[in-house]
Amino acid sequence: MSARRAVWEVARRELVERSRSRVMRISVVLLLLLSVGGAIASARLTSGTPSDDVGLVGARSAAMGPAIQLQARAAGRRARLHDLASTTAASQALRGGNLDVVLLDGARLLVKSSRSTAAVRVVQDAVAAQSVLDRLRGSGLTESQALEMLTPRPLPIDVLEPNTRNIDRNRGLIVVGVLALFMVLIFYGQALAQGVTEEKSSRVVELLLTSVTPRSLLAGKVLGIGVLGLAQLVLAGGAALLAGALAGGAGLPSAAPGAVALVVMWFVLGYAFYSVAFAAVGALVSRQEDLQTAIMPITLLMTGGFYVALIVVNTDPNGTAAQIVAFVPPLSPMVVPARMVLGNMNTIELALAVALDLLATAGMIALAARVYERAILRTGAPIKLRRLVTLRARHSELTAPGETHRGHAAFVDLVVQWSAVALVIAGVLIGLSDPVAIALLALGLALIGLRQSRKHWPRRPAH
């Protein structure tokens, strides 16, 4: 069998078997719900362009329509015009709260109670401007000359301190994006490591390797699980963009599509780097019980990258530290998207970060494949190498039956994990200066910590 077909068949099994798994399905649905809910909340909670409902009674009022809309736009508002048959109908609509102001025959205004609303100002200015326009036209100017006199080109504006509200929304966006990236990376990395250890501890690998080379097996597993992770992330990102667009309100920040694209791209790059490392460590241990400890160095590194990204977001996205860590390959998947969206990282720097990451990934793949090949049958594997990677990986040849990860425990674990994520996201969405938000964040992070430590509690043997 050709190596390509072997890789494809192994990947196919991973896709089919894992998409059947309940834990996998629940995690897909949860991430989808979180991203769609977050997008809708973000779109709706910030209001869009304010609008005024203007009633027009009589032909002369109707003629003012275009002028009112022009004036409203100039004032950063939007006017919705309603033609009405009579003053009585206009009064009714005003009392019912369906209109903000009514223009009667182009000569009088009618309001419910307040005389000085924004809507009143818009109509007043529109009528005044229209009369000036008419006079200018009367003095021999063309229509366009008259309009130009009335609406001089606005002066360009230099902003000393950019609109903080927009930055805050982009911050929320990138925190959610990087968090999703981090969670999906860890989730699928761990799934891969567990899969490798499962094959080793159940000894099925001995059967597999009679017909497939270790490298094909490794490549197939990495590919199959990676495609699932990518699909989950693309699905969640796409759904969030769609939901944000359909939700009305202010919509998502303009940086959202770019952020989703960056997160997806850096998932692919990050996964290529981390997945093979997870697989190599999975091959070093013989029992699922030892796996969590063995993959600690990798998860710590990733968590470090995630926190660095958070710090970048919260302090100075253009600081020296942020600029440097963006080019450190194991950290760049989490840091670069944050620097691109919030900071001043340009395309050339992005290309450089990608190039460095690819270089490091090539090295990691070479190393991990060597370790995997030597350790997966654990015969003839140099112990020194094993010691180097993890101290606890040395066990007797006797292998305990694969730990049966009980569905119930897995479910609780999943709920804890995602509640923690939801808390962190909620905290970020509320705004990082709010004490409630900080409390939510702290609670979420504490839950994540608790979950990590729970894995090291001794388990009952699975007999």
Binding site: V10, V204, S211, V212, L377
Partner: protein, 299 residues
């Protein structure tokens, strides 16, 4: 036309200081059942792993039909590892189909072969069950099916009979005979020597990685020590003392089995026995495989 054979030529493999397989040579003819016996740790599993390409030999070679085994041939080997290996959470049918496909079959062929093997082994209705939900015996059957599902040209089975009940043992024996009749060389290891003797045309016995006996079972038994069984009623104690070049191999009430040296004279023993009591049975014996095994393997 010469019969194809699986040949080992001076295969050697060591792990650090330990020489697990030492200069091992034997061949298994196509269509033969070949028993591979030896004590625990004698090097059987290592040898089988080398044949399957899971381990590299330090030196020596493994040939099939006169040519060194490469990846293409290896794909045509059916292997049953000693430590059973299946995906615990994967469905039986999907799993067997997967193994068939990894050995080069198409998915349709794999499905078809899976169905026929599961039916043949009495698991036709368990195709959708997860492996971990099966009993030990049934898992063993799935393991056998995994070795056979791609219609292999060579069968290497490490302890296929371990832990089987008598009925399952019969099923396994039938399947192995059937495969041999199809022209497949079947090499299997076992500690159940009666079974090996009963089933196999040839055996190889290894000890500390070295071949200590090899050949057709009948020849080996004939070439073993001469044994003489004497059953004696009301025997006078000590009657068998001071016989020339004779060793008592076994003594139960009334029955004595002698191992005869080159100078021993069976007629002299008969005379002595008749004087000691009434002889009810007197015959030369061929050693069983077990006796042979104890003879050639270091204690």
């Amino acid at each position: 036309m010469t019969v194809r054979a699986l040949e080992l030529q001076a295969v050697r493999r060591s792990f650090g200081e330990l020489v697990a397989v030492d200069d091992l040579s034997f061949s298994v003819l196509a269509g033969r059942l070949f028993g591979f016996v030896g004590r625990n740790g004698a090097g059987k599993t290592t040898t089988m792993r080398i044949i399957c390409g899971l381990l590299a030999a330090d030196s020596g070679s493994v040939l099939w039909g006169g040519a060194p085994i490469d990846a293409r041939v290896r794909e045509r080997i059916g292997y049953m590892p000693e430590e059973r290996g299946l995906y615990p959470k994967m469905r039986v049918g999907d799993q067997l189909e997967y193994f068939a496909v990894l050995h080069g079959a198409s998915h349709e062929e794999g499905r078809e072969a899976t169905r026929s093997w599961l039916d043949r082994l009495g698991l036709g209705d368990r195709s959708g069950a997860r492996v971990e939900a099966l009993s030990h015996g049934n898992q063993q059957r799935v393991q056998l099916a995994a070795a056979l599902v791609h219609d292999p040209d060579v069968l290497i089975l490490d302890e296929p009979f371990a832990g089987l009940d008598p009925i399952a043992t019969d099923v396994m024996s039938d399947v192995l005979r059937e495969q041999a009749a199809r022209g497949v060389p079947v090499l299997f290891s076992s500690h159940q020597l009666e079974l090996v003797e009963h089933l196999c045309e040839s055996v190889a016995i290894i000890d500390h990685g070295r071949l200590v006996a090899c050949g057709p079972v009948d020849e080996l038994r004939r070439g073993g020590p001469r044994l003489l069984r004497v059953d004696l009623r009301d025997a006078r104690p000590g009657w068998a003392d001071e016989l020339l070049d004779v060793e008592v191999a076994e003594r139960t009430n009334g029955r004595t089995v002698f191992k005869l040296g080159p100078k021993a004279d069976s007629q002299q023993i008969l005379d002595r026995a008749r004087r000691a009591g009434s002889v009810t049975h007197f015959a030369e014996l061929q050693p069983t495989l077990s006796e042979l095994f104890r003879e050639v393997v270091s204690p």
